[in-house]
Amino acid sequence: MRTRIFIILSAILLLVTIAMEMLLIPSLASAQNKDLIQYSPVFYWHIPVAWVALFAFLCVFIASIAYLWKRTPFWDIVATTSAELGVVFTTFFLLTGSIWAKFAWGTWWAWDARLTSSLVLWIIYIAYFLLRTYISNPEQRARFAAVFGILGFVDVPIVILTLFVSNQMHPGDAAFHLDKPQMIITLVTGVVAFTLLYLGLLFFGIHLREDAYEVSKLKETDGG
């Protein structure tokens, strides 16, 4: 099944990425540049995970529009699953960022534009799930969640834009200053690995939810 292929592939690539960042990257560091973020392994986790989180929210946005247009439960399922994954990945990139921050700057958090907008993003998508729990009518729930999925997406471009704002604690354009080809390869592998992981989990989650939906439909019509 497609899902299995994606997950296996991503697992392999993830292992490769780990190997690359733990072994390859530190070997490139010299005394002067070892403090630069490009030379620490966490960089090669953090960026792919952040990328996937934002991509997941883009998928929520698109699925929400598609739901309002087509009104099929499928798109609501895609939006929900993608939002779920988005929250998980955002949590992960906030955590990895925080751990790195402790080591690099000595503080767990800083209220600069990037971190603040990322935290707000996380809260927005938690609110997405809270909204869903507050509505009992399934059709209304899907519709309202879609509306919120569209409105909440506004923060995503903000998170991306803050990368280009200077004078922040959070390093911004390190990703564009990769000197060595091995770094680029590691980063790209990481991005591909996590994207595949996201897609695999997305398809898996969609299947699970579709089955659950079928079951609920059967239960409802059975009594009639």
Binding site: N137, P138, E139, K217, E220, T221
Partner: protein, 247 residues
């Protein structure tokens, strides 16, 4: 703009074909085909949950059907919603009126929403029509249920709609108030107004309608012209239709 003449030359005021409405897994209307001639009065019967209110709301363009076609005065409802809403009046279960505004203010608000010229004159007319002239500046919260119903009717008639929809209008009204209400409705129309109403009262309905339809579980179970029915016949037919499905 005088769209009145252009549109009302169509013989059918309301025509629906294959109207379906589903709420998630629950199907409220399973394909409604109706033809309501202009100037006629249609009574819609059916037990609770049959889909009467849903049908009325869809005709009033408040709710969109899941599928099917609806023609109001020959025009497709979904393509001409804003135009056609001005041709429809609705009296629903709730009054649609704001309790801390006065009768006059409520009507003035809706008169503006319907884009009426010479608002004060029309509002005065309609308040006189429902015999609420003495209370026109009182807040709606001070009105009894019957008075609120009268004001709801006034609101519905404000823009002189050629098609009037009523959802169980007799609820909460005594016989006298009911007579008064039908008197008001018939009085203003000059026989040209199309009326579709849902009802639980066979006797009252038969007295005022031209056609009858029985709705059961989202389908039209029976339709007939009122002149071919008597009260007992109708009651019996109703029992048959509603009992048949229970089996």
């Amino acid at each position: 703009m005088n769209s009145t003449q252009a549109i009302s030359s169509a013989p059918l005021a309301v025509e629906t074909s294959g109207v379906v409405k589903s709420f998630g897994n629950y199907i409220a209307l399973r394909g409604i085909d109706l033809k309501v001639p202009a100037g006629s009065t249609l009574a819609v019967f059916g037990p609770n949950g049959a889909g009467k209110t849903t049908l009325i709301k869809i005709l009033a363009s408040i709710m969109r059907p899941t599928s099917g076609k609806i023609l109001i005065e020959g025009l497709e409802l979904k393509d001409n919603v804003e135009l056609l809403r001005a041709r429809l009046g609705l009296v629903a279960h709730q009054s649609y009126l704001y309790s801390n505004l006065s009768a006059w203010e409520n009507l003035d608000f809706y008169a503006r929403m319907y884009g009426l010229d010479d608002r004060s004159k029309r509002i005065g007319e309609v308040i006189d029509l429902v015999s609420m002239t003495g209370r026109k500046h009182d807040r709606l919260s001070t009105f009894s249920r019957g008075m609120q119903q009268r004001m709801a009717l006034a609101r519905a008639l404000l823009h002189k709609p050629p098609i009037l929809l009523l959802d169980e209008p007799e609820t909460g009204l005594d016989q006298q108030a009911l007579d008064a209400m039908w008197d008001i409705i018939k009085r203003e129309e000059d026989g040209r107004r199309t009326i579709i109403f849902t009802s639980h009262s066979f006797e009252r309905a038969l007295a005022v309608c031209n056609d009858v339809v029985i709705l059961e579980r989202g389908r039209i179970a029976y339709k007939a012209q009122a002149c071919t029915l008597n009260l007992d016949g109708l009651k019996q037919k109703y029992q048959e239709c509603t009992a048949a499905v229970k089996k």
